[in-house]
Amino acid sequence: MPADGGIGASTRRREDVRFLTGKGQYTDDINIRGQAYVHFLRSDIAHGKINNIDTSDAENMPGVIRIFTSKDFEGVGGVPCGWQVTDRFGQPMQEPKHPVLAEGKVRHVGEPIAAVVAETREQARDAAEAIIVDIEELPAVIDMKAALQDGATKVHDDLTGNLCFDWGFVEENREAVDEAIRNAAHVTTLELTNNRLVANPMEPRVAIGDYDAARDEHTLYTTSQNPHVIRLLMGAFVLGIPENKLRVIAPDVGGGFGTKIFHYQEEAFCTFAAKAVNRPVKWTSSRSEAFMSDAHGRDHVTKIELALDENGKFLAVRTDTYANMGAYLSTFAPSVPTWLHGTLMAGNYTTPLVYVNVKAVFTNTVPVDAYRGAGRPEATFQLERVIDKAARELGIDPIELRRRNFIQPDQYPYATPVALEYDTGNYPATMDKLVEIADIKGFAARKAESESRGKKRGLGIAHYIEACGIAPSNLVGQLGARAGLYESATVRVNPTGGLVVMTGSHSHGQGHETTFPQVVAEMIGIDAGMVEIVHGDTANTPMGMGTYGSRSIAVGGSAIVRATEKIIAKARKIAAHLLEASDEDIELKDGQFTVKGTDKSVAWGDVCLAAYVPHNYPLEDLEPGLEETAFYDPANFVYPAGAYACEVEVDPETGKVEIMSFCAADDFGNIINPMIVEGQVHGGLAQGIGQALLEHCVYDENGQLVSGSYMDYAMPRADDLPSFVTDTSCQTPCTHNPLGVKGCGEAGAIGAPPAVVNAVVDALADMGVTHIDMPLTPARVWSAIQAAK
């Protein structure tokens, strides 16, 4: 292993030096000479017809450069959707136009109506307040089921109703599933809501458009998880700018959690306006704007039925879900409740029949799209909740019921009834590990001790699987993706042996600048400190798809491995020449090329120098230089899985829930940096617990965002969380990527919510409580206790 840490070392995060000393370079830290500022006038009503926008007073306000409305965007495209779902009847989803600035109607609180570009931020805001908008308010469409009733107000007048699509999966199984449920010895039914969330990355979104008139070149600086995707979507579909004239830079980004995947109107606006006013144009979102303009997450309403035989074996699962799309289709919104959700409904179990129905609905709310886990938390929550309910109904221990239905270690590769093929896993092993680290045997004594203090104690178990490392391009193409999902890397070796890796992945908290060099250093046998990572700039990285879906190490890391393998292959030829031996006889170990069975060797650095100073070099057979690019398209998803246990104490008088312990036994396959993986698990668990206990994005019946600030939207804080117990010693390496790795970024957010809710329901089961919808606030828990009386 390299002296400063190769694969498996808990190397400290090198990026933290700049992040923790205030030297990070975030988009808002960038200021371009002559830049102007934009303030968006946003709708304060949920649904209305725009009769008139009078900007005449505002235009004469101090500092105003230009005011834009939708009239300025005639001929400009709408913000595109990157995934087309086909419905149960073979028809494409309904896809409304998503204009840069509202056209004719406003459809959610926060939708931009006009944009003021001015010399200062305050002047832009002052002028925006002077714009007079005449809007005729229309009834707001908020409740999904009401939205689908005959005669409901339409969010989009040019569409047929508010149904985006009615998706069935696996459609051919529909009748067989119905039949199995009709005939089963036992059927457990659960109706639940997966609460709507706001991602709330620490850094709000920022965009700066810059236009070089002399070169006719556009640059967009933006807070993105995938700058190439933004360049493609915005350049090709919105503004009509070819890629050679458009550069997108996503520098240090302070957290994304999914909501920074998507292409937003503000990015297109700043790019467009920079040319229109011939000044750089900057927008920095306020936190209030973030609440009403960042894509939200989750928001499913589901009925799930689990059919079991007399021995507790799962026979079939049927679900009926309403998924909120919001007012427009955000970039990957249609994929979340469908392919990222329905395909997970087999879970870790041998259930032979599954049917998932999803009705995606337009409402007068902010668009909803992928949020940490994206579809997989929604699937896991339903499944792990209904299994827990079934266990209670049948009087079977919830761990035992799961064990009876686990896919067994000798069944891989395992083809599920919902299209996936799991390559590896060992769920009995992760459950065994959980039973050990969570001291399940000691629970009864802990419960008795809690009860002696007047508290109800509960134990909640969940076992999740996720399909991540997204995704085989040919497969997702068949499923409606309008993009490939490979990843890219260019490895450039410098003349004295140091390397620069230009990756298409994007780090916004994941620690790529630390882990990726560990991989390259391990392969070559040099110090990780000799490897630098470059990411986030379309001008100096190969076309990449970015970071989301726990894909960076599994897909981006694999591309780096492939490019490094090409480097090593070429370097071996150079070494063979220098050592006057044949390629096949050259071994690379610890940064030395050696002729097998001899002491003849040449160092990595000398080979690199020879490549760039090719005096003694096989120029007739080999190009000089040492730089290689690889694109890696995964053969399958990767399938991390894990067993989680949560213990809670509930105060039955107030309904307050306290998490006493949380244990996680995860199988992530091989691990590059255990410390970073543990940090990812901690973060995921915190977000999952936040969803389970605290976070809730609430609209009232008029479409006003009630939880529009931290005064009403509860984020998890350190003192809401226990000290986590994590274990990653169960490792079944992925069989189809070169590192044997799976993803770890979303796991905690997927597995935590059902574990927490199962624990609270367990605590209150003897009072008759069978379910409580998230978030389990004191008020909701107390109400559930009262309702059960």
């Binding site: 305050e122 805001r125 307040e129 209030s288 008088e653 107030t654 309904g655 307050k656 206990l693 605290l694 809730h696 609430v698 009630v706 939880s707 931290y710 005064m711 009403d712 939207y713 509860a714 984020m715 978030p775 606030t777 004191p778 008020a779 107390w782 109400s783």
Partner: protein, 256 residues
């Protein structure tokens, strides 16, 4: 935030004079006013800073009374300890940044219906001193965000009679961590007083039925105030808040 002027007087009389100007507004710790101005929900033309007035600061105890200067921060009250229930209350307001800036006078003058201090002042039968007069706690709190203070009148100090026993119990609103319901009980010369914050649309109030029960030797078991007039929002129904008042009162009496 709109532009504004700043004046920083060094005495109460200078501050009173400065506040006589059109559009002037006193600024104590700024924990409510500054965010409100940033949201453009308030736009005073002039801020009169009270933080430079030495006579408004400090804590002193004598003759069974604790006197706290209006510009004393929550952190200073938390550290004092001569009225343990009051210090415990101050130690649980907001977060360290809020406690190091926010002041008792600012909190009382604002009279947020979910603020903690009003419950302590009302239950302790404290006296609010201003540049003009002494106002009994029972007369000071008029309604949500409303007090007996006149335009331009400045709180100078608060006098707490030290009680025989006292305790403050609260359940946090999960997001803001203001009191979803907070109950302060204090047993003074004239028996128990029970003051409730966070629960009512009218702001802090005394729960007289509980006081009667406590002072008459009755039991609080199963008691709760009427849910009518209680705050009903996404964090808790009126019925839940009324129930919590009963629970927290019993716990406060037990802990006092």
């Amino acid at each position: 935030m709109h532009n504004f002027d700043i004046e920083k007087p060094s005495s109460v009389s200078e501050a009173v004079a400065a506040l006589a100007a059109e559009g002037a507004q006193a600024l104590a710790g700024g924990q409510t006013l500054i965010p409100t101005m940033k949201q453009r929900l308030a736009a005073p033309e002039k801020l009169v800073l009270l933080s430079g007035i030495e006579e408004l600061k400090g804590i002193s105890a004598s003759g069974g009374k604790l006197t706290i200067g209006a510009a004393t921060t929550h952190a200073e009250v938390a550290a004092d300890g001569s009225y343990p229930a009051l210090s415990a209350l101050a130690a649980d307001i907001g977060d360290p940044a809020v406690r190091n800036r926010g002041t008792i006078g600012g909190s009382l003058a604002n009279n947020d219906p979910s603020a903690d201090y009003p419950a302590a002042v009302l239950a302790s039968n404290a006296v609010v001193n201003t540049n003009k007069r002494a106002i009994a706690a029972d007369d000071f709190f008029v309604g949500m965000f409303e007090t007996a203070l006149d335009e331009g009148e400045i709180i100078t100090s608060v006098e707490f009679p030290l009680p025989e026993a006292a305790s403050y119990q609260k359940i946090d609103q999960p997001a803001s961590r203001f009191a979803l319901v907070g109950v302060f009980v204090a047993k003074g010369a004239n028996g128990w007083r029970v003051a409730v914050t966070g629960a009512s649309n009218e702001g802090v109030f005394r729960w007289s039925a509980a006081e009667e029960a406590l002072n008459g030797g009755g039991s609080l078991e199963g008691m709760a105030p009427d849910a009518d007039g209680m705050i009903d929002d996404i964090h808790g129904s009126a019925a839940y808040r009324a129930h919590l008042v009963g629970v927290l009162t019993r716990r406060a009496v037990a802990a006092a």
